[in-house]
Amino acid sequence: MTALLLPIYNEVRKGLLLIWDYKFSMLLQIVTFGMVFLGITFMMGNGEFIPARVASAMIGYMIWFLATLAINDMSWNLQQEAQTGTLEQMFMTVAPTGAIVLGRVLARFIFSIVTVGSTSLLVVVLVKPPLIFPAGALVPLLLTLLGLFGFGYLVAGATLVFKQVGSLASIMVNMLLFLNGSLLPVERMPEGLATFARLLPTTEGIIVLRRMMIDGASVSQVWSDGGLEPLIIHSLVLVGVGLAAFGWCERLARRKGTLGQY
């Protein structure tokens, strides 16, 4: 167990130290994040904050932000580490590299949860959206994060092999904003687009979270009516595919001799 926990703790600690070193830019990121959200919801309300719409958008936007960090951290940051020369050290450890990647994403999530939490608090105080925060909402939230971890592994693996995936990651992040139901709920999308949207990471999580935090459904309700199943399946598939792809890509990069290249 220690063999897994130590590298995760190590990466989380290092990640938070590095984030702390960039505290000013991180603070600006939090402010920007909040301002953009308030701006979007203000425009969606045609010049006013409509609490019901803000509530719906808030869940989507916050989850999208978590996805953004997971994807960006695994593309830009790995690329940057390859350039600066520290990436190869990650592969010369006694720990499974999967645990190291997990620790890295976790550090980002801790920061992003602070960002999301502080912004949410501000929005709740200012706009008073009709949101409830049941403890049961942690279940779909954690399942959504699990899926994002899986997707993070996928992006990390692709970065090791294809290197310049940063631009592709940006496209993915922007596509998620418009297609994962952050701004426009999936139910209001055309059928074909809705089907595609449901395949993307975070979409199912946002659907379930909205049901619980806006409509007031409980975990047992979303479980019994089958609402939780697609999220569970989606997250497990993403984790499975992500881990398998990362392992395969790592081996391929070792074979090609490109681990430290950029």
Partner: protein, 313 residues
């Protein structure tokens, strides 16, 4: 035995639209336990690929890399627990962390909790004269200090094998000397296995107990340093003659090469037996060329390196 053994190792890199590059070609190499092993060769010879195969960053196309009983590619984690690495380049460590934070981070990467290595970290930083600056960010350090932190990080897990890829590259004289002293202590006094690649051949000559010269992915020499130097020292001669060499003689120099400089002909070359000199000198005497001097050269590693790399079939 904890020798590092590369057996029939081949590594080829594909290139888009071009012939693939064979970086390592069916290489057999044994690096004995303990001492400083110099891995020398011109650019592109395959040194870094060999280093990276030993530390598992690059998988060979064929062949195997072993540390004692451990197959590096099948038992990578076991192997990594025994290896400390400073790769070529300036950034093996996190510049935005302090030396202390870097050391704790790299200790945990090797599976050792920070509190278990605190004493060792303190000792390393003190010995490397970094203790007073242990809390400052590495980015504010000079290149030499950063390299010292990188070395400390490679040593924090107390590895018995240390791979150093161009560790003195870009360092000023003083920093380079400190790094060399450390390499010496590790390999010669503490009995660790240090594998060193460098283009600074005087450094290799001074430090290494054994040297392998690599060219085009193959070993063209692999001997204890003293033996390698000795092998070439006793058959290399320099003859100085007054005036230019007549054409008839210039066309039949045998093992010698000649150049004309400041009114003198200087012949350099190898003879298996010093007695072979006499008939040669007789020819020059007959040609009326006054003899200025005859000397036996003691070649340094740089001369040997150039000769081997340029002339080895």
């Amino acid at each position: 035995m904890n020798d590092i053994v590369l057996r029939a190792v081949t590594k080829t890199y594909p290139r888009k639209g071009k012939e693939p590059v064979r970086a390592v070609d069916n290489l057999d190499l044994t690096i004995p336990e303990g001492g400083i092993f110099g891995l020398l060769g011109p650019n592109g010879a395959g040194k870094t690929t060999i280093i990276k195969m030993i530390c598992g960053l690059i998988l060979p196309d064929s062949g195997e890399v072993r540390i004692g009983d451990i197959d590096v590619n099948r038992q990578r984690r076991q192997a990594m627990g025994r290896i400390g690495v400073v790769l070529e380049g300036t950034r093996n460590i996190y510049w935005r962390l302090s030396p202390w934070e870097n050391l704790m981070y790299f200790a945990r990467l090797k599976g050792i909790p920070g509190r278990q290595v605190a004493g060792r970290a303190e000792r390393l930083l003190s010995e490397l004269d970094l203790w007073d600056r242990r809390k400052e960010k590495v980015r504010t350090f000079s290149r030499g200090m950063q390299q010292k932190v990188a070395i400390a990080c490679a040593l924090i897990g107390d590895p018995d094998i240390i791979l150093l890829d161009e560790p003195t590259l870009g360092l000023d004289v003083q920093a380079s000397r400190i790094v060399q002293e450390w390499v010496f202590r590790l390999g010669r006094e503490q009995g660790k296995t240090v594998i060193l690649t460098t283009h600074q051949l005087p450094v290799a000559q001074q430090l290494c107990t054994r040297i392998a010269i690599i060219r085009e992915g193959r070993v063209i020499a692999n001997e204890p340093t003293a033996k390698l130097l000795k092998r070439f020292e006793d058959d290399y001669y320099k003859i100085r003659l007054q005036g230019p060499l007549p054409e008839a003689l210039a066309a039949r120099l045998g093992p010698f090469t000649a150049h004309y400089e400041d009114g003198q002909t200087i012949l350099t070359g190898h003879l298996h037996d010093g007695l072979e000199l006499y008939p040669l000198l007789e020819k020059y005497r007959a040609a009326g060329l006054p003899l200025i001097s005859v000397s036996r050269n003691e070649e340094d590693l740089e001369d040997i390196f150039i000769r081997l790399v340029e002339t080895h079939p």
